[in-house]
Symmetry: C2
Subunit: 180 residues, 2 copies
């Protein structure tokens, strides 16, 4: 499965895009990838908002922390997919968190986000995951209801240039055997 | 990229495995997939513990919540990969959380977990993500230091039988346009 590992290893944060639109059928594959993510007891605690409206993209851009390197990406990308998590669902039973780690929506949205980014890359699209912004302000702009949090905003578009090589620790630096 | 979408759609939770060991080079590809996951500002806040020792697998099995359908998987799989998250790193700056969502280790471990599960599936291996267990007890058994949490335990092995088809909401049921 060399091809698959190339997708895993070749995915990079892409912050500059061509002006080209994303065809409907291609965008649909990206949404299918979110759809098939796993989640705690199959709670599927995600909602996705496909933002194409430029006024809304601009308003969302203003929620980013100053100096965020993905600021231009928020309006430069033809589409921004925002992923929302349903609260008190993943990791919950009868209204109570079942583990010390509390609400698992962040973990599950992480699983779905990675499906999104990998599928996009397999379709020659670039993405960047934005987590540093005012989540309350974004929630207002997107009119997300109580009981949900906007977790991540992910600009998606055809890369305007090659991505830089990224650094990672070696396997020997983060892998342990039998004990930490 | 039909093949890639087959991996996304074909991954299932696998809880019964053949007795066959996982060759070193195959396991290494799974670890490479974790390695190349994205993370908040490239913090790489994960540590992975490859558990093969049967006594440790058995002790970890005892940390599962009663009735967890993955109980047998914990000792039936030749390898259990446990993913630990470093605290106060992802989403943090100068010791302070930068967003209302606090520590992003759960999100980042979610990204890495999905890389692991997809790569395993691409290599004909089955996985199941276990989150429902005593995280404190697992931490003790694995001797994880302060400042880390054991987040998920993921048995990995060659599937003993075909996985059941799983249900998901339709795209129209979780996708919104421009606003929630």
């Amino acid at each position: 499965m060399a091809d698959f590992m190339e997708i895993i290893k070749g995915r990079r944060s892409i912050r500059r895009y061509e002006e080209r639109e994303i065809p409907e059928n291609v965008l649909n594959e990206v949404l299918e990838a979110i759809r098939w993510a796993p989640s705690w007891a199959n709670t599927q605690c995600w909602e996705a908002i496909v933002v194409r409206n430029s006024t809304i993209k601009q308003k969302l851009q203003e929620t980013l922390a100053p100096g965020n390197p993905a600021t231009k990406a928020m309006v430069g990308a033809p589409v921004v997919i925002t992923l929302c998590g349903k609260l008190q669902s993943s990791g919950y039973e009868k209204g109570q968190a079942t583990t010390k780690l509390g609400d698992w929506f962040m973990f599950d949205i992480g699983l779905a986000t990675q499906n999104l980014c990998l599928a996009a890359h397999a379709l020659n699209l670039g993405t960047v995951i934005i987590g540093s912004f005012s989540h309350d302000r974004a929630k207002e702009i997107l009119q997300a209801p109580e009981g949900y949090e906007v977790v991540a905003m992910i600009p998606v578009g055809y890369p305007a240039r090659e991505a830089k090589q990224s650094h990672r620790r070696q396997i020997s630096e983060f892998v342990h055997y039998d004990r930490f």
